[in-house]
């Protein structure tokens, strides 16, 4: 076996079931190559996602202040930073950050899932009783996959239009009401937001652990934060399909 006397030695000893890693090249890639590193990256990209869903929800609420206001807000998003930054420049920068964050988040999740499957190729043959792992934490990868599918539908529905029978570019209020007055679409949005809530409930707490943000003074608040964050975002978002279907907004 290994007869090394200093910590930090590589030790390329072949052991059955072991997956030795390659020599480092680029530090950041090497860091991302470890699972602890991937989890830190998932936490950071998750924070980007949290920021996005919160702002997105707040923007959505403008539906309650009238058609003009929401459409103006949509227009404003294209003009942030103008005239120093060209039209839609900031918007595309934000979109690029978001897209990259989502892609990395998904890749890390996928590759950690593979690693975890390898770590237990044969599962328990008897029934397993969980005492701490909650429903949200155990369904993260499924809520994640379903949310990704929903996002694709959502883009086709309200950004690009093909999934929306009466789509008019540049008129988000009209498009929103047209789309969500279809009962089944409203149902999809409601279910997707409940899934988002589950994903946020675990993610917004878990990110603190992954980044090592742990302190007895605020540990309890990490859970409160996750609950409040998930509840606020989901409640804000859910109110919209409900308002449209019930006719409170039209």
């Amino acid at each position: 076996m290994v007869s090394r006397t200093t910590p930090g030695g590589g030790g390329a000893v072949a052991v059955p079931g072991a997956h030795p890693r390659q020599r480092p090249r680029l530090w950041l890639l090497d860091f991302y190559g470890t699972a602890v590193g991937k989890k830190a990256v998932m936490a950071i990209t998750g924070i980007v996602g949290l920021g996005f869903v919160l702002v997105h929800m707040l923007g959505n609420l403008k539906i309650y202040t009238g058609e003009q206001h929401l459409n103006d807000y949509g227009e404003y998003l294209r003009e942030i930073g103008s005239p120093i930054i060209p039209e839609t420049g900031t918007l595309w920068l934000l979109r690029a950050i978001l897209i990259v964050a989502v892609l990395i988040h998904v890749h890390a999740a996928w590759s950690l899932t593979q690693m975890n499957r390898r770590a237990r190729p044969t599962g328990y043959q008897g029934p397993r009783r969980f005492v701490a792992a909650d429903y949200a934490s155990r369904t993260m990868r499924w809520t994640g996959v379903l949310l990704a599918l929903f996002i694709v539908f959502h883009l086709f529905d309200l950004t690009w239009g093909p999934a929306n029978p009466n789509f008019t570019r540049g008129e988000p209020y009209h498009n929103l009401v047209e789309s969500l007055s279809r009962g089944w679409v409203a149902a999809i949005y409601i279910v997707a937001n409940l899934l988002l809530g589950l994903h946020l409930y675990h993610g917004a707490w878990s990110l603190f652990q992954s980044l090592g943000w742990n302190n007895p003074r605020f540990n309890l608040w990490r859970r409160y934060f996750a609950i409040a964050f998930a509840a606020v975002v989901v409640a804000g978002n859910l109110s919209i399909p409900i308002a449209i279907v019930s006719g409170a907004v039209d």
Partner: protein
């Protein structure tokens, strides 16, 4: 008080055998005996019938060696919090209960026979850095190296780990984060552990990931740990690992070597 239990025990003749559950009746056993003693009773029956006894690991039978871990009704070390299998008494079961007993399941813990698994992977993590390299000689005078009481207590909490593997067994991902974080923390909290703090965490995390899954913060390990080691140590491990990326001189030196080679 005595009780009757039906045991469904995983039997596997060797590492390559497929294995299966076998059912045994344990009748009129005292509620004051431990779970291992229950297995002893069943084994005496089996031996009397000239059948192969159930192989299970044990040593101290007082909750300090970490040998006796098995899954009992889908929970590592059974239903009682902060308790090893050897310290679990039958009074925590009800008369007529069916109890399912199964070995740890993890690629890094191959089954040797029945309920016995090989936990060498844990030793390999410790070999990667779970020690201090300086020869320490005889014990020092007590107050030679000042250690704040709070740090000493926390280091003791981490050092309470008996390496039983319940954290890995409990983890839906088969991750060894709680074990590794405890080993990293009990040295990292003390002055003697400081010189190698950053290279240690790098080396031990790397070794851990060669064998185990990744932590996704289910918290199942903390609930299963017979020593009730907190996942705060996992956060500490993550924080130390992030810092080590900038502070581990050994790794930084290697980085400059690689750069000057090219």
């Amino acid at each position: 008080m005595t009780l009757n239990l039906t045991l469904k025990v995983w039997r596997q003749d060797g590492p390559r055998d497929a294995g299966r559950f076998e059912t045994y009746e344990a009748n009129a056993v005292s509620e004051d005996i431990s779970f291992l003693e229950l297995l002893d009773v069943v084994n005496e029956d089996l031996v009397a019938q000239n059948r192969e006894p159930i192989a299970f690991d044990h040593d101290c039978r007082e909750g300090i060696c970490g040998m006796c871990g098995v899954m009992i009704n889908g929970q590592p070390h059974g239903p009682l919090r902060g308790t090893t299998t050897c310290q679990l008494h039958l009074r925590h079961f009800k008369d007529g209960d069916t109890v399912v007993v199964e070995p740890w399941r993890a690629a890094a813990f191959p089954i040797i026979r029945d309920l016995v698994v090989n936990r060498t992977a844990f030793d390999r993590i410790v070999m990667a850095g779970g020690y201090v390299t300086a020869p320490t000689g005889a014990a020092q005078d007590a107050n030679n190296i000042p250690v704040p009481k709070a740090n000493a207590d926390l280091a003791m909490d981490a050092a309470a780990c008996i390496g039983c593997g319940a954290c890995v067994a409990a983890c839906p991902n088969g991750a060894a984060q709680l074990f590794t974080s405890a080993k990293v923390a009990h040295l990292g909290l003390l002055p003697q552990g400081q010189p190698e703090r950053w290279s240690r965490v790098n080396a031990m995390v790397q070794r851990m990931e060669e064998h185990f899954g990744s932590c996704t913060n289910h918290r199942e390990c903390e609930a299963a740990c017979p020593k009730e080691i907190s996942i705060d140590f996992i956060a500490r491990l993550n924080r130390d690992y992030l810092k080590a990326q900038f502070k581990d001189r050994r790794q930084l030196l290697r980085a400059t070597d690689v750069a000057s080679e090219e």
